[in-house]
């Protein structure tokens, strides 16, 4: 039966299929439905299995990180593979922070890709946040250093740095990113913290797990920003990412406009996964 009693095989398969189609992954999908089955056996009065499953999923998602409590400026690096939405997300975060009354600076640390600086420059004007940039082909670390110096002298309290897309499987590119991380220490001293937001495309499959592990391995992933959730993909792989790396999802991207950014809501996300 659907609403009471133990979980029948047909419902179990339907729910497992739904999770797999949401990119939760075959292993985690089976394990979650098994957990649901156990819970319903010991439950006094089991309710709708889909609702119960969503609750199990929501409870597993890592908690939001605490608000920044370190010295100014707060630094937020946006990293991730090519095309995931870093540059657009940088603009969205900058706009939100400015509207909240913060003094914000954007840093164009993608000095590699064609017209990357131009793209961020147009965004910076659109969202009303100043941009630190160098000429194309310059050194990303120099741009970040410059931006941190400027932040100090201009009493800026948030620096958002956009970086070049890179496939995590490319050793040299990951080494370059690690080097970029060390610039913070050089500019502001080694105790100065910074956060790295791993930007993941919601349409990615299980490779997001490899991405998360690889960026975490070079010490550069504190949270996940899940983009393009306005599409048909559900981003279920962030459940495994959270389980294996502890990384919480903080924001979700819901479109191509500067306001299309929302705080991550675990219950709502879990409900969407189960369909």
């Amino acid at each position: 039966g659907l609403i009471s009693g133990p979980l029948d095989d047909e419902t179990a398969e339907e729910l497992t299929d739904a999770l797999i189609l949401a990119d939760v992954g075959p292993g985690p999908a089976e394990e979650l439905v098994e957990k649901l089955r156990e819970r319903r056996l010991s439950a006094e009065k089991p309710g709708d299995p889909a609702v119960e499953l969503a609750r199990i999923i929501a409870a597993r998602l890592p908690a939001q990180p605490p608000d920044y409590a370190g010295p100014a400026p707060e630094i937020h690096l946006l990293i991730g593979v090519n095309g995931s939405g870093k540059t657009t997300t940088a603009a969205k975060l900058a706009k939100r922070a400015r509207e909240a009354g913060r003094r914000v600076l954007l840093a164009a640390c993608d000095t590699f890709r064609a017209a990357a600086v131009e793209q961020l420059e147009l965004w910076s004007r659109r969202v009303g946040v100043p941009l630190i940039r160098h000429a194309e082909g310059g050194d990303a670390a120099a741009v970040l250093f410059d931006a941190l110096e400027a932040a100090r002298s201009r009493d800026v309290d948030l620096v958002i740095a956009d970086t070049a897309g890179r496939l995590h499987a490319k050793r040299r590119l990951m080494d370059e990113l690690a080097k970029l991380g060390r610039v913070v220490g050089k500019a502001l001293g080694h105790e100065h913290p910074f956060r790295s937001g791993l930007v993941l495309d919601a349409a990615n499959g299980q490779n997001s797990l490899q991405q998360a592990r690889a960026f975490l391995e070079i010490g550069l992933a504190d949270e996940v920003i899940l983009t393009k959730l306005d599409g048909s993909a559900k981003g279920g792989v962030v459940l495994a990412v959270g389980a294996q790396t502890g990384l919480p999802v903080t924001w979700i991207g819901t479109g191509e406009g500067p306001d299309d950014l929302e705080p991550f809501q675990p219950q709502r996300f879990a409900a969407a996964l189960v369909g």
Binding site: V81, N82, G83, Q119, E121, K170, D201, G205, Q206, A233
Partner: protein, 292 residues
Amino acid sequence: RLTERLGVLFKRLTGRGKLSEDNVKEALREVRVALLEADVNLRVVKDFLKSVKEKALGAEVLNSLTPGQHFIGVVKEELTALLEGAGDKLNLPKPATVLLVGLQGSGKTTTAAKLARHYQKSQGRESLLVACDTRRPAAREQLVRLADLIKADVHPRKPFTKDAPGTAREGVKLAAAAGRELTIIDTAGRLQIDEELMVELEELEAGLKPQAVWLVVDAMTGQAALEVAAEFHRRLELDGVIVSKLDGDARGGCILSIAGGLGVPVRFVGTGERPEDLEPFRAEGLAGRILG
């Protein structure tokens, strides 16, 4: 890794045996997990396992192979056939217009430049690259920058004065006047569920009547790849797919979803960010990559 797991499964069977129903059922479960972990669409996996089961049941295990290897051989054959079987050989007429479409960030703009370079090098065809993404900030600049890198013609070199269809029409006229044998139209990324933008694409195609409409797909795309490609195919009748970012470590199961689930052929694969990082699609090697 899958080969090892299957080896363990079949270790009690030796040469000259027949694969029993139970042997095959267990083995199919292993293959199912491997394919799903590789991001092959669930429906395509189910259909694929059915056809493998038929081939594998009762199949003689040769003396020279262990049952595990034999079974994997059957799976690889079926997989490769599915990847290869889709569609006719690529034969772009001269001149031709190619329309590149796809989700946001899939690699269209970069691929446009790669195609221009590929056809110049392999067929001596000169291209006109046409920037029709009027939406993304600095999209036109990006294509102009890439075009200059490979010394290809690009339109418009100045900021847009027309909308996407107008710019495309203009580009086709300029290409004809300049005797360009290939016109490559770069479009804005869009969601297949965005009605307004999908209609814009349908109208663009109807007006241009391109010789090829190619969907650019990111190799790391998950389960959604099938429904995305299906919708683009339903609206535009795709002539091919280009899989980008295959230089990463994504297993690339979305390729099987599209080739197997829709029968749309994969034409090229992107293997890096530079203009030279494009290769014609070859099915061998991909089966092993997908199976892990």
